[in-house]
Amino acid sequence: MLVYLEGIIILMCINSIAAMGVSLLTGFTGIFTLGHAAYMAIGAYTTGILTMKHDVHWLLAVMIGGILAVAVAYLIGVPTLKLMGDYFAIASIGLGETVRLIIENWESLTRGARGLPGIDSFTTLPVALGFLLTLTIVTSNILKSSYGRAFKACRDDYLVASLLGFDTAKYRILSLCISAFYCGIAGGLFAGFMTFLQPTMFDLQKSTELTAVVVFGGLGSLSGTILGTAIITLVTELFRPISQYRMLIYGAVLVLVMVFKPEGLMGEKELWSLFKRRDETWRKRS
């Protein structure tokens, strides 16, 4: 029982890391993506192949996976980030699927659709939690910095941001690269958790889930993203015995959140800011 629970928590950490990346892009910079599972795939396969065939230490392999994802994101981002709104969203579907199809067809390297079995099981609970904690601290510092303000400016009013002299193109690409790095790392950890990879694990459904979780938790709230991921991961596992209804409930929840609380669970607030405020009122009283 404990081991199974541990598995769920590890999965939650992995999903949270990937969702954090998407949150930075969609929630804070306002760029809507439907292809980020591709960056997870790049990270996962890089890690899997490096640790198995080239005996690279897993930590290094995970990092290389993240960096490779950034490289691909940069190559893709420079031309496509000029596209606006839904054009970028549809293009990101195309790019995500293309990456997956390349992995599927490059059999000599990835064993194709048959999958890559026998990866070392290096993603233990401390590893997953450690990564999540480190990356959360990094993200919240990015958001507090001038970069974070620039991202939000791109989101809130693109025109005004450019008129104010923000190099919006640069910030959009930077945001995409950071989010790809997070997804790449998450993919690498996923490889070490699953010990088996298949291209279909990183399909459109996975990409959609990542974006949906971010919206569900609250666009522009880091803790909301983590909370949202936790809830969705738990619900998915808890409802396993009634899997048909599981997906129906999941879809309905998405619609209801958009209709009644489009700002998501947390809106733009953070969990710690809630505590802070309570703290201040308490001080005033005393």
Partner: protein, 292 residues
Amino acid sequence: MESFIQQLINGLSLGSVYALIAVGYSLVYSILLFSNFAHGGFLVTGGYICYYALISTGNNIWISGLLALCGAGLTAIITERLAYKPIRERTSVTLYLLIASMGMSIVIENFWVIMAGGRFRAIPPVLPTYPFKMGNLTISSFDLLVFGITILLLFGLEFFLQKTKWGLAIRAAAYDLRVAALMGVNVNKLISIVFFLAGLLAAVSGIFLSVRYTLYPQLGFITIKAFVAAVVGGLGSLRGAVLGSLILGTAEMLTAGFISSQLRDIVVFGLLVLTLLLRPTGLLGKAVSEKV
């Protein structure tokens, strides 16, 4: 050469089914400026209504077809009223509409999983599918039927948009929804009409796809290709949607026939990215400005 022409015919027949999906999707986009991902759900709903109606009416394709078209049209209206109307009346952020439409797509697909089960259903053979031989070429009678009905429907839609009062209102709304509202157009009624049309076209393609392939809850997944076609042609442009669909269908078949069937989808998505890089608004699209 002969097999090239044969693959071209296969491609055009696939493309015409894409066109029916892409046009409805593009029509909704032109008014509300968001990608309605629940479009695939309308298609599946049309297929299932047709299937059950055929069984209960003893294979009367006219009644079943009519029921399927109206049923999917109504599903589209209800989807809009329940999930999109509250959002679009509150905010202009299309992102929320996009996510809501994803949710609806999951809901509709899994509604049919629960109602009809996962088995593959086949629509009874009410439409002719026997092949015609022309020299060494083969054309299925069903392909001709699909061609014919698609052309008829698209011209009908064009006539409706050009010659009727509501058609004029829709074209005005596609230019600017707010201005159209100020000119006294009943926006909610207009949007319902647009969704009904989109649902109706989706149902026709749903019936075609169920006859040609098979009917199952995940059939709506094919709409992704149609979305790609609409983007290649230019979002919001109906002629673009048709053009993009025919290009895509042909490209798919030629790739599968002459290069490799594994590369088929890579070519589709490659075509998409390439088009967008050369012409960010698609082949016939109008310029968009970021609304988010």
